[in-house]
Homo-oligomer: 339 residues x 4
């Protein structure tokens, strides 16, 4: 870390800072500047947020961290890209751009089977569908819960598609992991650390969605939570951040793809359905995400969006999804990937 002293700070203030740096196990190094001193604290600062407390010392203007605070998720620690195995046939992070598709919520047997068959036919690799639903309103449909998991498993049996579904409570995480091939942590739970630790203890891949107001660094720290409990199979999902713009439901930050690729070895996928909130914008954002280097996409597809219990406006109909997939193949090839 770099400790910036105030202009004209007293020598005794500086000496106290030096003493505290040593006390905390770092080696201080003073640079006498034109108008103020700057002190480098040499030592591995990861996991030592406590150094930030030096900002309370007299004469200190600011404390500037130099190292990123994550380790296991960092490319500095593991250089080669991680490839996460979801099933016998499907891995994320390899040559193939992996497509996860299906309805927002599992509503009934016919709906999930029809969805699974349609997305499979169009070329999707993984089925998505919510059984436990985190809804903004307590009066909205909260999901079929275990019954929904059973229907997803049935759809998997029929189509061969592994499935990903959301976990919303540490108490039911194990139940969900008993059915699902991949566990999803939703945006609203992206800093629910109790939940992150629990899925870190399970042995199922985790699709971690970025929180609505999460920086890239915090996103990687949430991945680090899961990894530090022993589960390295984490896939990062950009799904839009909250900004002032209201023309879309969220602002899909596609530059997060190259930024994350520069910092971590974990695979990065994109959710253009939640990222835009409007089915008209889903296809162009799918193409753009793959062009920018995404390892996969998660797309909402519903056979009858006007009657969907949730997220109808952002769901593609199967026919539109199939057309999107056809065109997506061309962009995957241009990106030197396959679908």
């Amino acid at each position: 870390m770099i400790i910036v002293m105030k202009a004209g700070a007293a020598k005794k203030d500086r000496d106290e800072v030096l003493r505290r740096i040593r006390e905390l196990g770092y080696k201080p190094h003073v640079i006498h500047g034109a108008t103020r001193d700057v002190i480098g604290a040499v030592g591995d600062e990861r996991g030592k947020a406590v150094l930030q407390s030096l900002e309370s010392l007299h004469g200190v203007e600011s404390v500037v961290p130099i190292l990123q605070p994550y380790k296991l998720a960092s490319k500095e620690v593991k250089k080669e890209a991680s490839v996460v195995r979801i099933s016998d046939d499907v891995v994320i992070g390899g040559e193939q751009v992996v497509i996860m598709a299906g309805p927002c919520s599992v509503e009934n047997e016919a709906q999930i089977i029809e969805s699974a068959e349609a997305v499979k036919k169009a070329g999707a690799h993984i089925l998505r569908g919510g059984a436990f639903k985190p809804r903004t309103s307590p009066y909205s449909f909260q999901g079929l819960e275990e019954e929904g998991l059973k229907l997803l498993a049935k759809a998997r049996d029929l189509t061969g598609l592994p499935f990903v579904t959301e976990v919303i409570n540490p108490e039911t995480a194990e139940l969900v992991a008993g059915y699902a091939d991949m566990l999803q942590i939703g945006a609203r739970n992206s800093q629910n650390f109790a939940l992150l630790k629990r899925v870190g203890q399970l042995r199922k891949p985790v699709l971690l969605k970025r929180g609505m107001s999460m920086t890239i660094q915090e996103f990687l720290m949430s991945a680090e939570y899961i990894m530090s409990e022993g589960n390295q199979a984490v896939i990062l999902c950009e799904r839009g951040i909250r900004t002032f713009e209201t023309a879309t439901r969220n602002t899909l930050e596609l530059s997060a793809i190259p930024v994350l690729k520069g910092k971590t070895h974990l695979p990065v996928v994109v959710d253009p359905s939640h990222g835009t909130g409007d089915h008209h914008y889903v296809a162009p954002m799918c193409y753009a995400a793959v062009a920018a280097g995404a390892d996969g996409l998660i797309v909402e597809v519903h056979p009858d969006p006007e009657h969907a219990s949730s997220d109808g406006p952002q769901s593609l109909k199967p026919k539109k999804f199939a057309a999107m997939m056809d065109k997506l193949r061309l962009f995957a090839e241009a990106a030197d990937r396959k679908l």
Copy 2:
């Protein structure tokens, strides 16, 4: 809700919308506009988010909700301001501006006792202190857990101050409620619906912090989650939102006080410590919050901020806290309140 049709939408599209509105239990009402039709759907739309799915219909441009989606939290349902009882001596929402103060984390017995005595002496009404800590890094101090709760109870016995502490997991909510006088839901868990439901089932007042990227409406929906489970004793806490500005840790939105007061009967308090992240700015923001009509404040006070395990830079020393309290009395009087 108002359904706005596209300019030049076909009659059959409009008829389908009318049919669906009736099917969903509303009465449609068409306004023929200069360039397009607008359809009002009459009926209580609260708890009927499903109407939004009409956006997927052909010919529909947008669906505009008219009613707020919350009921129990709404001033329309309960006009008089709610007063929440915390202990025999302390209520929030009455004439008194209630001050909650203490360290971010409980670190050891001496620290919490010293803090409690200091804030009591300066005039605080409730002790705050974290036993279960939600930390951005898995490598940071995670709190003393139940041992911390016991120390808080000891401080309460010694000083007579009731205490508020955070709940981070549905599995340990009951344990925390066994010790605490008020349960805090932190900003990162403000849309952890499993946790909101759990504290809604307990019979302890809840201090609900606003999430970092939560709109006022979503904030009230999270309160509604707790209330819809039977617990009406909810206190709303503005603690800063995330914006582009980095000069402060968050952007404390004091206009949220009058905005909330216009929409809900629940008490509103402010956390200037997290709201600014810098102890230099805490006192002016305390004065401003009370001037704007806050029912209380929650302030971080630590006897030795330079050695704090968390949030040192934003903690006041007891002496500064006492000086702030002295001046705050004048602002409380100007606001026709007492401290």
Copy 3:
């Protein structure tokens, strides 16, 4: 517009609203709702922002606009996509994805000539370069001014590339228009209405950059300013918005491409250099922008970025730019466009 009355508003308040609606030239239409009345004001509300003032009336809860406030820029008024002619050889908005490239600032003759030749060789269609520079600091390099324009004209003579350069002051707009093939309005001047009007009176195409905190609707209103003065040759440029994320200089909002394409007939181009602020992220964002449907790109290229007077960190070296262009061709083809 829709006027939402408060629950329980008095009949005389509603009558006053009806009177005012008629007075302003609209036809009111009341919908009696379950808990409140909603009044539709029928009539073309574009250009009548004054209706918003009804929010001040007693008993009114809110006023919700239905129509977009722009006309000339709207797709409703002109359905077919606009094609803007820049020179004999170059049009924007047609089949070709148009590439504008060059240094941030014109620094000297050698630099601009070398840049122009390099980007021409790699396949760019338009040269970019700043002569009048809007800099955040008064102590930063402010541009070569007219001397810079002359050097740009020289580079055009040598390479045949038309050029785009920024206008920052109504007083020098005509001077710049005397040299340039296209006038750029920068992000910081995107709501400098005096400047927008001036370039609207000139007869040169305008590249209008989106402001850092501009909504899509405000962006189109700024285009409308130019168009309402008689100049229809406007090209919209998404260049990143300001959000809480600091990993990139701005947040490039690629979903703005399909959103704008749904609302306006004007061509849409993307600036990934300012949008990300880091040359590492420029190429993936170029590919993504074209995949999402952009009509062109504006890219900073500098022969010696480490010595650039401005924007060095986000400038590509000519060799990297050429490599990007080669790969971009594949994405343009996948998008059914040519480069």
Copy 4:
């Protein structure tokens, strides 16, 4: 500045960085860290943004500025608070909290005279009113221009109140300065550098509004633009920033008051009318601003808001303004100021 090298950067990369630091006139100072080197560049970096270009060098991870880029506006350069004289009777930055009030736009003689007399009677010190209006829509009322200035001068003659009015174009700045006592730069022109330079050359105090997405540092850089042209009479005005929250028109950032007070000697005033956009919230935000240490307020007051040509919903009626002023006195006293 601090240059952070990549982990494992080659010695030759580091040597090149050292060479360039010296070439740019700084003295380099290397700290060998646990995982990477960090290089301090000693020398006054203000006005030398060019150092940022080192980020383009091979092996460099990031360049972190240490000093603030402003000088004249900085408290380090001038420690004592600046007091700006507006007229014989009114100074801003002294003991008195200065109240500027009046309508958004000058509409006609009766309206501005009535407004001036009403705000004078309630205790305001300066009249506000727009003659040249920057409006988002080209179809909205654009102001009475010079006729409006004449009416403002008439109101001044009648009431003795000096007036502040907006300048929107370098070409008309001198004209406005011929009438007005203080020139306002609006939020949308806060980085219109041509305009900032022009008002810097005039000898009239400048009320500089913060831009909607302007950081505190950029705000001070815009003040620096004006000051670097010779005009030191700058007053900073917080008027709300743009965030995701839509319950208010902007998010009034009152913490900007103590933040600015810590960095600059310039007076700081607050505009709660634009900051909230709703007259219901104006009074509490006035109280809060003064409690937080504001040197003044600028408030929209209109005798007939329902018929206002602009900003009706956020304007106070004279009676409400007078009631607010009465209560504000109490808060000013609590803050050890007078009204």
